[in-house]
């Protein structure tokens, strides 16, 4: 008997409603330029949030993603600028930077993971600490100012952000690919099952022969790699990094995950919901830009209200069970 499952359909319904509001607010909303802009912008938060879905499903939390993104941006820019003198091929430089970015992301995740599992420090504290460390490192690397990518490379690299395939910008395709892989990983593999089990009850997971520490560490590494991927498509957008890069990404990513229906205390996660959550957050910002009714400066306030309402609805649905 098919019945409407509000918990699953809720975020999607919200997306539809906000989309309709967008249409009503401004005719420019439906223009293909605006729509592809929305999708491209939601890619960064979306990709980071897919990593966060794994961490949160397995019962953890990662606050360091925003400053990690800024730090990785800075590393990429410094590396590419440094390679300019010794390597001729621009493509080779960019590929090296991309590899380095993925490596740094994975190691940063590994550090978060090991500190939570082996040193047994609460994830909140560990990632609060690494958040401060990366933020401070990027500020130091930029000497308090801004790191800029060499223009010659920047011209080549900008294709990654501005290039279009089948009418959609590259970042959207990357977002889609990460989402599909994330969905398969979470819902169809043993690792995904183990994430659910660990987040639901670590003790039961341990007594079910699950390597709890390994699963948790792997989720932080996945998160780090997702941050690296988001950074790879983010750097060519502005071609610079500073202490202000990636500010509050952690909150937007966590918000996207929670709006999507993943349970903050762990044990239940939905990749599809996270994608919808990221779209909702970007849509709100976009609509506020297109209307005079609410100041654009109140974007954060509206997002905050949406998160609180989403969790309230989630709790209500939980209690009825």
């Amino acid at each position: 008997m098919p019945k409407l499952d509000l918990k699953t359909a809720g975020p999607f319904l919200a997306l539809v409603i906000i989309f309709i509001i967008g249409i009503l607010v401004n005719d420019a909303f439906l223009s293909s330029g605006n729509l592809s802009n929305i999708l491209a912008r939601s890619s960064f938060i979306g990709i980071v949030a897919i990593g966060a879905t794994f961490v949160i499903t397995a019962g953890g939390i990662d606050l360091s993603v925003g400053s990690m993104a800024a730090f990785i941006s800075g590393c990429m820019i410094l590396l590419m600028n440094a390679l300019m003198d010794s390597v001729d091929s621009m493509i080779a430089i960019i590929l090296l930077a991309i590899l380095a970015s993925l490596g740094i992301g994975a190691v940063a995740g590994l550090i978060n993971g090991l500190l939570t599992t082996k040193a047994k420090i609460e994830a909140f504290i560990v990632t609060l600490g690494t958040m401060g460390i990366y933020r401070s490192l990027i500020t130091y690397m930029a000497d308090g100012g801004t790191l800029s990518l060499n223009f010659t490379i920047g011209d080549v690299y900008s294709e990654v952000y501005y290039g279009v395939l089948l009418g959609l910008p590259y970042p959207v395709w990357v977002f889609l690919a990460v989402a599909v892989i994330g969905y398969v990983l979470l819902n169809m593999t043993v690792f995904g099952r183990h994430c659910f089990a660990v987040g639901s009850n670590e003790r039961v997971a341990k007594y079910s022969a699950i390597h709890v520490d390994r699963v948790k560490t792997a989720t932080y590494m996945l998160q780090g790699i997702c941050v690296a991927i988001a950074t790879i498509i983010y750097v060519p957008r502005l071609g610079s990094a500073s202490g202000q890069t990636g500010i509050l990404w952690e909150l937007e990513a966590i918000a996207a995950v929670i709006i999507g229906g993943t349970v903050l205390k762990g044990g239940y996660g939905r990749i599809g919901g996270t994608v919808v959550g990221a779209l909702i957050l970007t849509l709100i910002g976009n609509i506020l830009n297109l209307t005079d009714a609410v100041s654009n400066y109140l974007n954060g306030a509206v997002q905050g209200i949406i998160v609180i309402v989403a969790v309230y609805l989630q709790r209500g649905a939980w209690r009825r069970d």
Binding site: V204, K206, Y207
Partner: protein, 528 residues
Amino acid sequence: MPENKNNKVVLSAKNLCKSFGTVEVLHGIDLDLRAGEVHAVLGENGAGKSTLVKLLSGFEQLSAGELCLGVDGEGPAPLGHWDNEIAERAGVVLIHQEFNLAEQLSVAENIFLGNEISGVFLLDKKTMRAKSLQYLQVLHSDINPDSAMQDLAVSAKQMVEIAKAQAKNARVLILDEPTAVLTQQESQVLFELVDRLLAQGVAIVFISHKLDEIEQIADVITILRDGALVGHYPAKELSKDDMARLMVGREISSLFPNIPKPSVSDEVALRVTNLTMPGNINPISFELKRGEVLGFSGLVGSGRTALMETVLGLRKAARDNTGHVEVRGEQVCFKQLSSARDKGIAYLTKDRKGSGLLLEKGLAFNFSLFSLHKISRLFIDTKQEQAAFEKAIKTFDIRMKDSSIAAGNLSGGNQQKLLLAKILEAEPSIIIIDEPTRGIDIGTKSQIYHFIAQLIASGHSLILVSSDITEVIGLSHRVAVMYHGEITGVLEGDEIEEHEIMRYATGLKNNISSQTALSQSGITNAKA
């Protein structure tokens, strides 16, 4: 020990009954607690000791019967409403086995927790500290009132609990297995303290499974069995053997289904040699033969679960552990349960809700969690999973309204059958089951015995850890008995009998230290 024949009754219980739902668990208990007397309450696991002390201390409400409290030299008068708060104000204080202390606060703050002395607006820390010091001095304790609770040893924490009871002017002090967490020396310090409290006219209720302690400090012994009163006895008139006999009391053979015991092969399935557990001095050794059921008996806290979990890699062995584990002759060292599982060992935890099942997850999810490796290469084969689950529902007769409910919504018996199905789905050859029938109805119990019998018949080897002595006797080829973190005996044939097991379980008998027993039972021990 002072003679207290004429001492006044402080708290008197008449015909106490307690029911949970429709099930009566305590049937008409009478009890008189006198000032300056140690009143020991004895009984097997589940005999009703804890329920009784919870009624006395107001943590549970009476279903029937009457409590009378003697006040200021007056005879006992019937009580009206009785709850924990009123009980403590009246000076009836229960000290739980697990302490009720705030680890981050200081000793003085703990002693006055919930009972704070305050001035007009602020807490009067000075007075509380001074009084704490005074209480501790009365107990001849040199604990600093300013120390943080978390820095104290277990015995010191217990001392603080008692000081806390004094701050409430305890007249009846109920100690629920106070020595379970103490070393022998610490226990002696506690007994000296008990003597001082008696001299002050406090009535003490003492619960312990250790019969030699009871013999040492009790004046009166009350024995419970299956929730009913067996009798009150002056401690001097009971030997420890009498205590064990009275606790057990019944003939047990008739209660148990007759399960055939196929012959055991000589092949050793699992051998544990000189394994040392944290906090234990003596290493432990035992072996399980192929096709055998080796029962593990002992009182709560005797270390059976800790032993099994150490063998399986769920807990760490002691730092200085030099022992080892062999599975079918191959030496192994399990650091993770998955390594044990991959060697064909499965473990049924006794904590069904806390470590067995994910209560908010579905049945199939729970069922396949321990054996996912069997049904997945790159992806999980959900069709195979569903088929295996449906087969298990039939095999194990798991009953539910519909198969989409969460595991937490199953009845206890069906949860247990799901848990059994879950671990057996990994197709282990050695199965360690811990309290397989705790808290489940008699029908499901016999089903589970039936599954166990089938497992033995098909050549599995099984370790059965159970506090239900009847099922240990009914199912086991041999029975290892543990006391205080050691195996005190391994019984075979006619020795497997309730009173004999009780003697080993209470530390009355220990045949592991004698050489002859070693060679007979195949047990070796470093003490020998």
